[in-house]
């Protein structure tokens, strides 16, 4: 059995000014072909102005079971949100 083409994750910038966004994955022998395949698979209807591809094995993901400890620091700091502070209307627009 021959070696399977590696898996690439595809990110597309939908319009100028927007972030690249993950749209899916595909198999390709190298980065150049991955871009070409991504063009055919993910932008058949003008969905993009720019494509990034990265080999899936190079992506490190957080683990779902870490969810609690990983995000706890942000959950306990409500004062990071502007609504935490009560400012009287008389102070004017802020």
């Amino acid at each position: 059995m021959s070696q399977e083409w590696p898996l690439w994750e595809v990110f597309i910038r939908g319009q100028h000014g927007l972030n690249h966004r993950h749209v899916g994955s595909l198999h390709a022998p190298d980065a150049e072909m991955a871009i070409k395949n991504a063009r055919d698979v993910y932008t058949r209807r003008n969905e993009g102005v720019s494509i990034w591809v990265v080999e899936a094995q190079h992506i490190t993901a957080s683990s779902p079971s870490d969810k609690g400890p990983l995000y706890e620091p942000s959950e306990s700091k409500v004062y990071r949100h502007p609504t935490f502070f009560d400012i009287p209307d008389e102070a004017g627009h802020m």
């Binding site: 021959s2 399977e4 190298d30 698979v41 058949r44 779902p64």
Partner: protein, 325 residues
């Protein structure tokens, strides 16, 4: 549907974990690849998504059959774009299946050696240009019936693939109906051809939804897991109710003498397809089963040197780049 009679697997997992998993699904949460899931859920999904992907890929064959013989350059370009979309849909789905821990090559091999199935509908031949109309209108129409609710399925990657597919699928059905309109309004010979296509594709389209609910043994677990959203009979009824007025608009006759509007259920009563034919086709005895699998096997074998050659080229380029650094 594109996935018919998907056998659901019983789970032997820890009851507590199972209950927690079911609670997430009931709460409408999406399950993502790295989340814990019951073995049965994973296996059933691989089978279902894989079968769906295979259907998209094999589904290119009956239409590919007419690309070189389309009546105008515009129709040819449209058909080519549609067939290219089917390839894309197959790829979205294969990627979704791969997130469950099966490789692309394994999936392909299971299709090629018959361990995995594809939809029964693609084992019927496309004999005339009107069949391109009937396939888009009826076959893609039936597929949409099933795919729209599946956008809400519990497995994240599957749901996202379905959303992409549904966005693109409407073009497929409309181009098919447009062909039917042209043919039905054409010469008597063209209209006859359109009627003949409807006659041949009507019952096979009804079969796409799978056996009647009373014979459908795998539905309950899959519905609980939200990997099947409606029963086979519900979807079939919806399809008939939507399609009959479309046939009337074309001035064509649905080949069913028993077809009647039933005021009480505000839906049509209609004849069931011949289920023995359905099981026969599933078993491999349809008019085109052998031809379809032979075509897929040939494409895989003939493409081997390309797959291997591009890998060798990529390795060579990588080595040259390393040497230059």
């Amino acid at each position: 549907m594109y996935a018919q009679m998907v056998k659901s697997e019983a789970s032997q997992d820890d009851p507590e974990k199972l209950a927690g998993f079911q609670a997430r699904i009931d709460a409408g949460e999406k399950i993502e690849p790295k989340d814990w899931m019951p073995e049965g859920y994973r296996k059933t999904l691989i089978r279902q998504i894989g079968q769906h992907a295979h259907s998209e890929i094999v589904g290119q064959l009956p239409e590919g059959n007419w690309i070189t013989r389309a009546p105008t350059l515009e129709r040819k370009a449209i058909l080519l774009a549609k067939v290219q979309d089917e390839a894309g849909h197959g790829l979205y789905l294969y990627c979704a299946a791969e997130t469950l821990g099966v490789s692309r090559d394994e999936l392909t091999e299971m299709l090629l050696d018959g361990r995995m199935k594809y939809s029964s509908i693609f084992n019927y031949p496309t004999l005339t240009w009107a069949d391109m109309g009937a396939v888009g209108w009826l076959v893609d129409g039936a597929a949409i019936m099933n795919q729209v609710p599946l956008q809400r399925t519990s497995y994240g990657p599957y749901s996202r693939a379905m959303i992409r597919i549904c966005k693109e699928e409407s073009f497929h059905q409309r181009q098919g109906y447009h062909i039917m309109m042209k043919m039905a309004q054409g010469t008597p010979a063209q209209k006859k051809m359109a009627q003949d296509a409807l006659n041949r594709f009507w019952y096979p389209s009804l079969m796409m939804f799978g056996p009647s609910d009373k014979d459908s043994v795998h539905s309950a677990q899959s519905m609980k897991w939200k990997i099947k959203m409606n029963t086979n009979d519900e979807l079939r009824q919806k399809f008939v109710d939507q399609t009959v007025p479309q046939a009337e608009f074309l001035g064509l006759t649905v080949p069913d003498d028993t077809l009647r509007w039933n005021e009480e259920k505000s839906g049509y009563d209609f004849a069931e397809p011949d289920w023995s034919e359905f099981f026969d086709v599933i078993q491999g005895n349809g008019p085109c089963n052998t031809e379809r699998l032979a075509a897929r096997n040939k494409a895989w074998d003939d493409g081997a040197w390309v797959r291997e050659g591009l890998m060798a080229h990529a390795a060579k380029k990588r080595a040259a780049k390393l040497a230059a650094e």
